[in-house]
């Protein structure tokens, strides 16, 4: 999916509260700001060609509803922040976004470690659950990639 030229690339180190507000407006349930951004992008670039079996495209769709903050197609690190249940929620990118700073990487790494530990604990209590296993695997894969990137290899 093309990066909307009208959007200024933002760093992921933005105020978490502001990000929460954006989530409210245009997160899982697309709100007016997100829709406007998506519509504007389509007017400028034409309808995107998407493969819905491709997680990258799914993330890209999510980014279309990012309130015009210019994060498409990169993935905002704040979205993987730890929630009250000790897990990270939201779509997991299949690669480490290039625009994540070292601080972002360390924060997401720490949050993923806690989330994975929580999910394993849940799995231990509840028993093996395929759907939960898929999510856990996605988080483990992203964590490995982050560790690799942080180690510079």
């Amino acid at each position: 999916m093309a990066t909307p030229a009208s959007c200024v690339p933002a760093t992921p180190k933005l105020d978490r509260q502001l990000d929460e507000l954006t989530w409210e407006l245009c997160g899982a349930v697309p709100g007016p700001v997100g829709l406007l951004c998506g519509v504007a992008d389509m007017i400028e670039f034409g309808p995107p060609s998407l493969d819905l079996s491709d997680p990258n495209d799914l993330v890209a769709i999510g980014m279309m509803t990012d309130g015009g903050r210019g994060r498409a197609p990169e993935f905002a690190a704040e979205r993987l922040a730890l929630r009250g249940d000790g897990k990270v929620h939201g779509p997991i990118p299949d690669h480490v976004p290039d625009n994540w700073s070292k601080d972002d990487l360390e924060q997401v790494k720490s949050d993923l470690e806690t989330s994975i530990a929580t999910r394993k604990e849940e799995q231990e209590r509840l028993g093996e659950d395929p759907q939960h296993r898929w999510r856990l695997t996605e988080e483990e894969q992203l964590l490995k990639q982050i560790e690799k990137k942080l180690s510079g290899s």
Binding site: A28, L52, L58, P91, T114, A117, R125, D129, Q131, E138
Partner: protein, 218 residues
């Protein structure tokens, strides 16, 4: 997207156990209507119900829009449904959802150990304002008394000693709520949680051990 999401729902309704639920979760994040998950949670197919409950629990604070559904899942015969619904209350409920929160708290006496463990986690982590909102809907007087005690933590009227003393109470519910109180206090002092981990009550001990383990990841 709608067609793809509908296909995934059909697969789950047919009892297919693969990565369909995770794919559907990603579609919901991308804008697939969350209301459609009701087809899963009201199904007779256990895999569909479990998947629907799990997806709602994964929506984070956006599960707030599904609190009516969460209340239904809290009373479902499937243990996985109740387990994930407790998670959804933890991340998605607000002070407006006192009745649903109370329903989740009341599962502390659930016949399933995993569900009870998750309720302890809920009591240990839910904002106190949410717990306070549940008080008018707690029908069991004993549980109401214990949860009221727990909510007094914000005024710091609960001492470390009172938690530790309750950990060895003859009453099981008292011990369990004390275990949750110990976990709530852990950011300030891990002493009560360590005492809970060493408690004779296996369930409280197991919960406290898991809390210590998760908190020691870093």
């Amino acid at each position: 997207m709608i067609e793809r999401g509908d296909d995934l729902i059909e697969r789950l309704l047919a009892g297919v156990e693969d990565d369909s639920a995770n794919q559907l979760l990603n579609l919901v994040f991308a804008g697939y209507p969350v209301d459609n998950l009701r087809r899963l949670t009201h199904s007779d197919e256990p895999i569909a119900v479990k998947s629907g409950a799990w997806i709602i629990s994964e929506l984070g604070d956006h599960s707030a829009a599904m609190m009516g559904e969460v209340a239904w899942l809290l009373g479902h015969p499937l243990r996985e449904s109740r387990f994930w619904a407790v998670d959804a209350v933890l991340v998605g409920a607000t002070t407006e959802d006192g009745e649903t929160i109370a329903k989740a708290v009341a599962l502390i006496t659930d016949p399933d150990e995993a569900v009870r463990w998750n309720v302890l986690r809920l009591l240990a982590r839910i904002p106190l304002s949410h717990l306070i909102a549940s008080l008018p809907y707690l029908h069991d007087p004993h549980l109401l008394q214990l949860v009221t005690w727990l909510t007094s933590m914000d005024t710091e009227r609960i001492s470390t000693q009172s938690i530790v003393r309750r950990l060895s109470s003859a009453d099981r519910l008292t011990r369990m709520v004390a275990g949750a109180a110990a976990a709530r206090l852990a950011p300030k002092s891990t002493y009560p949680l360590e005492q809970a981990a060493a408690a004779e009550d296996q369930e409280v001990s197991s919960f406290a051990t898991s809390e210590l383990r998760t908190r020691r990841v870093h």
